[in-house]
């Protein structure tokens, strides 16, 4: 059986209800750029809803807030993660604590498994901003 790749996002420092989610890469529908500093990734809705509140075909999504104009580098980074066969990828964990295999805290902040390329035309480093990621399910 083909193994799936799962993308983990956690948007808050308190892990409040609804702020953590895992998305299956094979459920990816598409990504778009809502603002100069954000890129949104859409997936098949987990609740099975066919339409959203606006009456449009529904998705679940997470939005990464990032360096100004870094959209294409963010897209490429997440695409590389989704193309990795089988596994669990932390896209962004705003709680910021990484854990070792025995469950002890490694103490880093703003944890992510993805490293993003610099913007091709300017060389500006691309990173996820302080507000990190938001989840909409």
């Amino acid at each position: 059986m083909k193994k799936e790749t799962f993308l983990y996002v956690a948007e808050s420092a308190t892990y409040a209800t609804g702020d953590q989610a895992v998305f299956q890469a094979s459920n990816f529908i598409g990504a778009e750029t809502p603002s100069a500093t954000s890129t949104r990734f859409h997936f098949t809705p987990t609740a099975g809803a066919s339409v959203n509140a606006a009456g449009l075909g529904a998705t679940d999504s997470f939005t990464v807030t990032h360096t100004l104009d870094g959209h294409i580098e963010i897209l490429k980074g997440v695409a590389r993660a989704m193309a990795t066969p089988g596994g669990f990828v932390v896209v962004q964990d705003d709680e910021g604590t990484a854990f070792s295999a025995d469950g002890s805290s490694l103490g880093s902040t703003g944890f992510s498994d993805i490293s993003y390329d610099a913007i091709a035309s300017t060389g500006t480093a691309v990173k996820v901003s302080g507000t990190g990621v938001t989840v909409a399910i």
Partner: protein, 113 residues
């Protein structure tokens, strides 16, 4: 799965609004058609409304009656979509002058639902 990126903005600082930059997996492609004498449309499922589609217009320069560049551009598009790479491929990116061989970036657009 292959992931395809398209951006129709020629200026980096203008990125980040509707109808500009998208990425989609190859299995969300709905099809292609000949949009006009010098362009083809690639349709994909819209992430903003999964009951509708986004359209990527790929322009070419050929204006001869045989419309040979329609087919060349379709072949190049399919070749990129089915390419052997790990992650994302850029279909066209006006900010970095990336395009298919037969494509012209002027007039090539991303139109989201």
């Amino acid at each position: 799965m292959n992931y395809i990126i398209a951006n129709d903005q020629g200026t980096l600082t203008s990125l980040g609004a509707a109808d500009q930059t998208v990425m989609f997996p190859s299995n969300m492609i709905l099809g292609m058609d000949v949009a006009e004498d010098t362009g083809i449309n690639l349709f994909v499922v819209s992430p903003l409304d999964t009951n509708d589609g986004d359209a990527l217009l790929l322009k070419h320069a050929n204006t001869n009656t045989a419309k040979l560049d329609h087919r060349k551009l379709i072949d190049e598009c399919v070749s990129l979509i089915n390419g052997d790479y790990n992650g994302a491929a850029v279909l066209f990116d006006a900010a970095n002058d990336v395009k298919l061989p037969t494509q012209v970036l002027t007039g090539s657009t991303v139109t989201q639902d």
